[in-house]
Amino acid sequence: MRSGLMTLLLLSAALRCNGTSPPGKPVLVGCRSPDKETFTCWWKPGSDGGLPTVHHLYYEKDQSNRIFECPDYHSAGRNSCFFDKTHTTIWEEYHLTVMASNALGNTSSDPIKIDVMKILKPDAPENVTLWMKESDRSPYLHISWQRPHNTKIGSGWVTIKYQLRVKQENSEDWEYHNSGTETSFNRYNIEPGAVHMVQVRCTIDHSSWSEWSNTTFVKIPNYVENEKPSWILGSTLSLIPLLTTLCVLVMKRKSVKQWLLPPVPGPKIRGVDVQLLKNGRSEEVVNALNGLQNFPPTAVWMNQDEDYLIVSDSSEWLLSQPYSSEKRKKSLIIPAGFQLDSAIQCKESTPSDCQKAEDSKDKMDHLDTLLNSKPLGLTTEKQQCPSVNFVNKEAAVQHTAASENTIQPLANTGYVDIQRHEKMLEDYSRVSEVSGENILILEKENVPLGSDIPSWEENMPQDYSRVKEVNSDNMVFLQKHNESDDSLSKEKNNHSSEWSAQKPKKPHVTECSKGMCTELIGNGYVDSVPKFSVK
């Protein structure tokens, strides 16, 4: 009972003494060696128990059993122990213990095992400087620093390796670079005008990394942009001639095309107008074609008027008026080939023959006459009584008929055969006989079309004169051709070569009547162009 009261009094007395107690248990926080030659350890003290507490650090080494105490408590600050070079051994383990002691007691911390090679942690690199440099007209950032001041250079005892990181001020991610043992680094990918931040750290012998150095800032100037305008200017100047060349080519494309691809000349027919062909009017085409080749056009049957062609080679011959007036008709058409109806008109002196001729003449319905107002003179040697008169019926122009229709008598006349067109005749008179040299006897004969014509030509009497050529002055050159009678042929041939110089007035038919137009073509042909309608 009393012992219990006594303990209660003691406890109360102890409580009244402000709660002093032995110190709390300290805790060793850790140790660190910055240079592999020294190291420092720190601890964290426990409660002091209300009394002044002193801490002591004791350590043991691996190879011996001695217990050492911390050589330096002050160099590294409070609650620390600094081991200098003489007390630091590498490759040996330290067993550290911290003991806190106060008036009431001692408290020891838990021991830790230290290997210096494992607590290496260097200080941060120093004096990080940034330089703007230029290489081949491109700028780069030259970053340099110094190793921590407490590591000695030259002994080879420590191997420091560096690492740096760069970022722009407004970006979030850092760019890490390993520098090895170099104390400088070049960064090439920098943006002008931006602020860059750089930090460096290091390691000793593959230990843990140091803290990052203080951030260094640099602002890149905007001088790189000056190169762009010169480049743009150069490219623009080179484009201008190119564009002008293109414009010129486009504007002159036709001439360029002609120069590049010259047109190939097409085929051309002489005398034929291509445009005429293209137009397609066959009438004109045929005209053109006919005009070219001087073909005698297709003869058109004319009216039944009889026309006479007076061929005389004597100047005495004079056609009587009634004949001329009677026979005077409109203009006649002589087809190509100068076909001449043999309308023989006899002189009054030989009425019988003349009558025959007149009869046969009446039957002629095809007019192939010479476009002469004056009869052609045919000079013959002999002038006999019945001279064949070819009345030039033409009286080409009616208004000129009065003046032009004078037919001069011919001294000598001969039968004129004009090569006729095939389609021509239906009815004509054939000379059956030539009496003497001046009288032609017509025989009636109907010559059918077409097929007979060649035979007619073959069977034609021997005594005939073929028109060889028409003079431009309305003179017909006859070619007397006689196969049977040599004498006659001779004479006729002689006749053919002579002409009386008669120059009749040259008629020029301009108007057409009844589908027939006569036209004198001045190239030696007596040509008549039929005007017929094409259906």
Binding site: K36, E37, D62, Q63, K85, T88, T89, I90, W91, E92, E93, H95, D110, P111, I112, K113, M117, I153, G154, S155, G156, W157, T159, T181, H206
Partner: protein, 228 residues
């Protein structure tokens, strides 16, 4: 067209001629190889030692991960190479001098050839399949690496002697002279248990780190201003 062909041929010729500058370093000074400089030899050797140290660290951490999750196990470790006096800080290493430093390196490398073979053999026998597959590959690689590094350091020493940097006091180091004969039994008490394997791997990792550091100090002592 001929000009183009000529230019092409010229480029091909230049390309092949320029490649002559990058002929690989020949190990036995064969004809046609480019003889490497002492600095190149140093760099090569240091690279090899760094690789070895990395693999040893991997081996050890794998082992610890599987068997010893707690990292604060305090235990007194003794490695079989404790007889080799090794400088344990920079001043002591610089105070040694190149010849002794080279000797230390060689001793360490020689001392680890056989135990690693044993380790390799023991990992193939172990029951734990998951661990052994990776450690089997690593132990095999480590064994080869130690051999190569030892040859490389010996050649380097020869080269240094030729160039007058190293005196001739460094002799051939026989494997039996400095290492306790019972090196194998050092680690094996009864069997090669995982605990022993753990100690072995720990020791090897530490010695690999020593070799690498000593080589670097040697390089920077004999050839200063070269990345030191």
């Amino acid at each position: 067209m001929e000009k183009v062909w000529f230019a092409f041929l010229a480029l091909v010729f230049l390309h092949f001629s320029m490649r002559a500058g990058t002929v690989p370093i020949c190990p036995d000074r064969q004809a046609g190889c480019r003889v490497p400089s002492l600095a190149d030899v140093f760099d090569r050797v240091i690279q090899q030692s760094s690789r070895m140290h990395g693999i040893s660290s991997d081996l050890h951490s794998e082992f610890e991960h599987f068997f010893f999750p707690s990292k604060n196990v305090i235990g007194r470790r003794r490695c079989h190479t404790y007889g080799i006096i090794t400088p344990d800080d920079k001043e002591n290493a610089q105070r040694l001098g190149p010849e002794e430093l080279t000797e230390v390196i060689l001793r360490l490398l020689v001392a680890w050839s056989d135990p690693l073979l044993e380790l390799h053999w023991s990992t193939s026998q172990d029951q734990n399949q998951d661990f052994n597959h990776q450690s089997y590959n690593n132990s095999l690689e480590i064994t080869d690496m130690v051999h190569e590094l030892r040859d490389g350091v010996e050649k380097m020493a020869e080269r240094m002697k030729l160039e007058g940097v190293l005196s001739n006091t460094v002799g051939y180091i026989s494997p039996d002279s400095l290492v306790p004969s019972s090196v194998f039994s050092f680690y094996t008490q009864e069997e090669f248990k995982p605990v022993d394997q753990h100690d072995l791997l720990y020791c090897f990792r530490r010695d690999a780190s020593k070799v690498r550091n000593y080589l670097r100090v040697l390089k920077c002592t004999t050839l200063p201003e070269l990345d030191c």
